[in-house]
């Protein structure tokens, strides 16, 4: 099981390098750099919020599950030892 996870991680980590080698196709939309500067809305706060929100929410969720799982398993162990 451990070996499988390790192999999986290694394979997935190699992908970024493959991606580097690829040229992204020029799509059918205008890159933001070419629009009139006056029309632009600053993108950085939007992106930061988007990615930040997801990361924070994910980490928060995983953390709460982890905590509750610990608590429940402790309770379970306690109950089972009492039952015996």
């Amino acid at each position: 099981m451990r070996l499988r996870s390790l192999v999986l991680c290694v394979c997935l980590s190699v992908l970024p390098f493959a991606a580097f080698a690829q040229q992204p196709p020029s799509g059918d939309f205008v890159p933001v750099d070419e629009t009139i500067p006056g029309e632009q809305i600053p993108a950085l706060p939007l992106i930061a919020t988007a990615y930040g929100f997801i990361w924070v929410a994910l980490l928060g969720y995983v953390w709460t599950i982890g905590r509750r799982l610990q608590k429940v398993e402790a309770e379970l162990a306690d109950l089972e030892s009492r039952g015996k």
Binding site: P16, Y51, Y61, L79
Partner: protein
């Protein structure tokens, strides 16, 4: 927990990956790399919850309820990701936070259904598991209707804003993200279901203790 490690590990290097690849496309389109997989996982979670609810109600498998609740929570989680990243991207791409087009509105409605599902399970008191299962099942059955009705709600009248076709060819980074999100979903689902099953066992043991 090793599954968790593998899942999270897959996410981190991909963040680095998504960054340099999009230099020519303009910064904000990178939101799409999170937005689309989130939307897919939202749908997958909703369907999982519906199917698990059906198994719980009709095949009377008690363990299916844990899966249903876990999937329902993940539906709300990934749905929230989709509905937050979407407008953030739209603000830049289309100039508005929200448009009442078919896809957005349908997603919002499905999201509302699952939020209601969670509220029901949390505040409905004893027996809410069966009620929730009924609701999740109805929610899943409703998806085609929601989509069709919202779609025709929009297209019988001229669209006030043009919804651009999303670029289909984003190559490797997108599929990498989809894979990462899928792994993440599976990991979270298993963790949350495990929590739910353990909780049910604790309750059962307490009940046993009370009775003896």
């Amino acid at each position: 927990m090793l599954a968790l490690a593998a899942g999270m590990f897959a996410l981190a290097p991909w963040m680095i990956n998504a960054a340099p690849n999009e230099a020519t496309m303009g910064l904000v389109y990178k939101i799409y790399f999170f937005h689309m997989p989130s939307a897919w996982m939202f749908m997958v979670a909703a369907i999982t919850s519906g199917v698990a609810s059906a198994r719980f109600l009709f095949l009377k498998r008690p363990s299916a309820d844990g899966w249903a609740l876990a999937a329902g929570e993940l539906a709300v989680l990934f749905g929230a990701f989709t509905l937050v990243t979407g407008p953030l991207w739209a603000r830049k791409a289309w100039g508005v936070w929200w448009v009442w087009d078919a896809r957005l509105t349908s997603s919002l409605m499905l999201f509302m259904i699952f939020v209601a599902y969670l509220l029901l399970r949390k505040y409905g008191g004893p027996g809410a598991d069966k009620l929730g299962a009924g609701m999740a099942l109805f929610g899943m059955a409703n998806v085609p209707f929601i989509y069709v009705s919202v779609n025709y709600w929009r297209t019988f009248h001229p669209l006030t804003s043009v919804v651009p076709t999303l670029p289909v060819e984003m190559g490797i980074p997108l599929w990498y993200c989809v894979t990462a999100f899928t792994l993440l979903f599976i990991v979270l689902l298993r963790m949350r279901t495990r929590l739910e099953h353990q909780r049910a066992r604790v309750e059962a043991l307490y009940l046993l203790e009370d009775e003896s």
